[in-house]
C-alpha cells in the first residue's frame, strides 16, 4: 500500500494544473512527514511540495517537466500502487428548479387561449384557429409544434385543419303563423337563423316562416364547401326536401346570393324574391370585415367588426356583441366559416357572379340595401334589371333586417301582396 504525494495547498487557488520543476528525493530515499520532496510551478510561483507522511519514497508518477492536474498524485510513498482513490467532495443535490407539475393540463378558461407568441404568429399567418387546438406545452400551452401539427394534419390552406367534416341535413327551423305560402329566410355569412328575430316580430304571425341555416352556420353541419355552386346546391337540396310549395324567399348578403341561385334553378318554388344587401352582384367587398369576424375569439375582438356591419354603431351594445360571440363560441364553427370564406371570398373578393341570374329572374323581386353598407357597396344594386324594385335605405349599414326591421317587414309585406295579387302562378 502506498500514500500519494499530492500538490495540496501548494497548488494554490484557481489552478487546474502545475508543472513539476524538480524532485528533491528519489525512489528508495527515506522521507519524513513535512519534508520537501518536490518543487512545482504554478501560474503564480514555484512552490514546494512536502511529504504527507514518514516512509520510503516509492514510484515517481510525474517526472520533472510534466504537467499534472492539481488533484493528481505526483508520486508515492511506500511500496505498491495507490489503492485508495482520492476522496471525492460529498455530492450536493440541487433542488429542482421551477419543477413543472406532471399533473394533466389544467382546463383552459373559456375565451382565454394560452399560446406562445410564435404559436399565435404562425396561427394568424396560416389561418389556424388556436381555440380548436390542444396545447402540448406546460399547463396546456399551445406551442408552435401544435400549430404545425394541425397544419400538417389538415394540409396547407387557411383554417383547413381545424374542423372535422360533418354529415346530415341543413338545420331548418320554423316560426310565424297564419296561412298562405311560407316565407323562407336565408341568413348571411357568419350569421345564423337568430338574425331574423326582429323582422319576424315586425311581421307578426301572419305567415308561416321557415329558416334555413347555411352549411357551417348555426346548427347546420360543418361541411367542406368547394365552391359557391356547391353551397347553393346544398341549400337547394334542403329546400327540395322541405316540399313546402311556393315560398316567398328572403336572402341576406351571402344568403341573398344563394336565394338568387335558388330562384334561378327552382323558379317554380319561388313566389317572390327579396334580397337584402345581396352578395354576388360585383367583385368588391370589404374583406377585412369578414376576416375580422372569422378571426375573433372574444367579445372584445368581435364587437369592432360587428360595428362595421351597421350604420349606427350604437346598435351593437355589449349585450348584442356578447350574444353574437356566444353564437360563435364553437371554434370548429369559426374554423369552418374561415375555410368557407377562403373559398367564397378569396383575397377579399366576391368570387361568385349572380348578375346574370338576377337579370334572368322572372319572379317579383326587390332589393333592399343600406346606403351606409361598409361591407358590400349598395351600388351593386344598379346591376338589377328594371323589373326589380330597389329600396335604398339612408343611414342603414349591411344589416337592414337588424337595423330597420319594420321597414324591411313592410317592404316584404308589400312584395308578398304584389306577388300574390297577380294570382296563382
Amino acid at each position: 500500500m502506498a500514500t500519494p504525494i499530492t500538490i495540496g495547498a501548494a497548488g494554490g487557488e484557481y489552478m487546474e494544473s502545475v508543472v513539476v520543476v524538480e524532485w528533491r528525493v528519489k525512489p528508495g530515499d527515506t522521507v519524513k512527514a513535512g519534508e520537501v520532496v518536490a518543487v512545482v510551478e504554478t501560474a503564480k510561483a514555484a512552490t514546494e511540495v512536502t511529504a504527507p507522511c514518514d516512509g520510503t519514497m516509492g514510484r515517481i508518477l510525474a517526472e520533472e517537466g510534466a504537467e499534472v492536474g492539481v488533484k493528481d498524485p505526483i508520486g508515492l510513498i511506500g511500496e505498491g500502487e495507490l489503492d485508495t482513490p482520492p476522496a471525492q467532495a460529498p455530492g450536493v443535490t440541487l433542488p429542482a428548479e421551477k419543477a413543472v407539475p406532471a399533473a394533466p393540463a389544467v382546463p383552459r378558461k373559456a375565451g382565454r387561449v394560452v399560446a406562445s407568441p410564435v404559436a399565435r404568429k404562425v396561427a394568424a399567418r396560416e389561418g389556424v384557429d388556436l381555440e380548436a387546438l390542444a396545447g402540448t406545452g406546460p399547463r396546456g400551452r399551445i406551442k408552435r409544434r401544435d400549430v404545425e401539427a394541425a397544419l400538417r394534419a389538415g394540409g396547407a390552406g387557411s383554417g383547413a385543419a381545424s374542423f372535422a367534416e360533418e354529415a346530415g341535413p341543413l338545420a331548418v327551423t320554423r316560426g310565424g303563423g297564419g296561412e298562405g305560402a311560407p316565407i323562407l329566410l336565408i341568413h348571411g355569412f357568419a350569421s345564423d337563423a337568430m338574425v331574423w328575430r326582429a323582422v319576424e316580430r315586425a311581421l307578426g304571425k301572419v305567415r308561416p316562416v321557415i329558416r334555413v341555416e347555411l352549411p357551417c352556420h348555426g346548427q347546420s353541419p360543418k361541411r367542406r364547401i368547394g365552391s359557391f355552386r356547391e353551397l347553393a346546391r346544398a341549400v337547394t337540396e334542403a329546400v327540395d326536401a322541405l316540399d313546402a310549395g311556393p315560398v316567398h324567399l328572403v336572402g341576406h348578403s351571402l344568403g341573398g346570393a344563394v336565394a338568387l341561385a335558388l330562384a334561378d334553378t327552382r323558379p317554380q318554388v319561388v313566389r317572390s324574391l327579396m334580397l337584402l344587401a345581396p352578395a354576388g352582384l360585383g367583385p368588391e367587398m370589404e374583406g377585412t370585415i369578414t376576416a375580422g369576424l372569422c378571426r375573433a375569439t372574444r367579445v372584445e375582438s368581435l364587437a369592432p367588426w360587428l360595428k362595421r356591419l351597421v350604420g349606427d354603431p350604437a346598435i351593437v351594445t355589449e349585450k348584442y356583441a356578447a350574444a353574437a360571440m356566444q353564437a360563435r363560441a364553437d371554434a370548429r364553427l369559426r374554423a369552418a366559416q374561415t375555410a368557407l370564406a377562403g373559398v367564397l371570398f378569396p383575397d377579399g373578393t366576391q368570387a361568385m357572379d349572380l348578375t346574370a341570374a338576377l337579370s334572368r329572374t322572372a319572379v317579383p323581386a326587390r332589393i333592399v340595401w343600406g346606403k351606409a353598407d361598409a361591407l358590400l357597396p349598395w351600388r351593386h344594386a344598379i346591376a338589377a334589371p328594371g323589373t326589380v324594385g330597389l329600396h335604398l335605405l339612408e343611414g342603414i349599414g349591411h344589416m337592414p333586417h337588424v337595423e330597420a326591421p319594420e321597414t324591411v317587414a313592410r317592404i316584404l309585406q308589400d312584395l308578398i301582396a304584389a306577388a300574390e295579387s297577380g294570382g296563382p302562378r
Binding site: 484557481y14 421551477k98 404559436a119 406545452g137 406546460p138 400551452r141
Partner: protein, 323 residues
C-alpha cells in the same frame, strides 16, 4: 498561431499596446513587482519601468486617479484585484468616468480601462467570488466586455485600451489558466459583437464569461438527447449585440440566458427582458434564466457548486423551455 493561456493573451495585449502607444500605463495593487495575483502583468515592469506601477490598497483613489489621467491625455489601465472590491470604484466610475464625455459635449474623452476578475468555483469565499456584472453594465457611458477565449481576451483588451470611452474588462479567475489559439496577428475585437460558439436549431443559449464553457457542456449533453442548442457568447455585456440575439431567437424560438451574477435584478434579467422586448413574437416559451442562487457565495466548495450556475442547470433550463 500560438497556443496561449488566457493570462498570457492579456499580457500580450498590454505589452503590444504599451509598445505601440507611449501614453498607455498600467497600475494597481501588486501588479508590478509581483506581476499581479494572476500573473497578467508579469514582466511588464521589467520592460516598461515606471509605466507599470504598484499602488497602495485604495481602489477608490486609484479609480479617481485613472479618471483624471484619462481626461488629461494618457491611457490608464487599472487592475482591481477582485470584482468584489468594485463597489469602492463606483463613485469615480458612475459619477465621473461615465458622464464626463457627455456633460462636456465630447470635449473630454475617457480612454480608461478597468480590468478586474470575478466569479467563483474554487472556494474563495463570499468576499472573493462575486460576479458584479449588472453593477457596471447598468451604467450608460461605460462599456463592459467579458472575454472567454484567450484570443478574445487579447482582442477585446486591445479594443478596450484603444476605445475613447471607459471600458470595464470582466475577466474570470477560472479562465486565466485556460488555453486557446491566438492568431499571431490578433488585433482588436470589435466591442459589441457576439460570437456564435456553435449553431443550433432548437434553443438559443446566451451566455457570458465562463458560463459560455458551461453552456457548451450543456449543449453537448442536450445533443445526446437530440436537442440542437445554439450557444452564443455575448462577449460584450454592454453594448449588446441585439441583432445576433434576435436572429438566433427567430431561428430557435427558445431562449436560455446564463450569467454568473445573481438572478434578482441581475444581468440575466436584463437579457431576458431585452429578448421579450425585441423578439416576443418569436418566442415559443418564456425565456429561461440561469443565474447564481440568491445568497452570498459560500466558501464551502460543494455548496458553492450549488449556488453558481453549471452545465446541468443550463441543460435543465433548455429542457424546460422546450417542454
Amino acid at each position: 498561431m500560438a497556443i496561449m493561456r488566457y493570462a498570457e493573451a492579456l499580457n500580450a495585449a498590454l505589452r503590444e499596446e504599451m509598445e505601440r502607444d507611449p501614453t498607455v500605463f498600467v497600475f494597481g495593487e501588486d501588479i508590478a513587482t509581483y506581476g499581479g495575483v494572476f500573473k497578467v502583468t508579469a514582466g511588464l515592469a521589467e520592460a516598461f519601468g515606471d509605466r507599470v506601477r504598484d499602488t497602495p490598497i485604495s481602489e477608490q483613489a486609484l479609480t479617481a486617479m485613472a479618471v483624471t489621467a484619462a481626461m488629461t491625455g494618457t491611457k490608464p489601465v487599472l487592475e482591481i484585484m477582485y470584482a468584489d472590491f468594485m463597489p469602492l470604484t463606483l463613485d469615480a466610475l458612475i459619477n465621473q468616468a461615465s458622464i464626463y464625455n457627455y456633460i462636456w459635449d465630447g470635449q473630454v474623452t475617457m480612454p480608461f480601462v478597468l480590468r478586474t476578475q470575478g466569479g467563483g468555483g474554487v472556494g474563495t469565499g463570499a468576499q472573493h467570488a462575486k460576479s458584479l456584472d449588472s453593477l457596471v453594465a447598468h451604467i450608460p457611458g461605460i462599456k463592459v466586455v467579458a472575454p472567454v477565449t484567450p484570443a478574445d481576451a487579447k482582442g477585446l483588451l486591445l479594443a478596450a485600451i484603444r476605445d475613447p470611452h471607459p471600458v470595464v474588462v470582466l475577466e474570470h479567475k477560472l479562465l486565466y489558466n485556460t488555453r486557446g489559439e491566438v492568431p499571431d496577428d490578433q488585433g482588436p475585437v470589435e466591442i459589441g459583437r457576439a460570437r456564435t460558439v456553435h449553431e443550433g436549431s432548437d434553443v438559443s443559449i446566451f451566455a457570458t464569461s465562463r458560463m459560455v464553457l458551461e453552456a457548451e457542456k450543456a449543449a453537448d449533453a442536450l445533443a445526446g438527447d437530440g436537442i440542437s442548442a445554439e450557444v452564443i457568447d455575448l462577449r460584450t455585456l454592454r453594448p449588446l449585440d441585439l441583432g445576433a440575439i434576435t436572429a438566433s431567437v427567430a431561428k430557435t424560438n427558445h431562449a436560455v440566458v446564463v450569467n454568473e451574477d445573481w438572478g434578482f435584478c441581475g444581468y440575466a434579467a436584463e437579457l431576458s427582458a431585452t429578448i421579450m422586448d425585441h423578439a416576443f413574437d418569436d418566442l415559443d416559451a418564456p425565456v429561461e434564466r440561469v443565474a447564481a442562487l440568491d445568497m452570498p457565495i459560500p466558501y464551502s466548495q460543494p455548496l458553492e457548486e450549488v449556488v453558481i450556475p453549471n452545465a446541468d442547470r443550463i441543460a435543465a433550463a433548455a429542457r424546460r423551455a422546450l417542454a
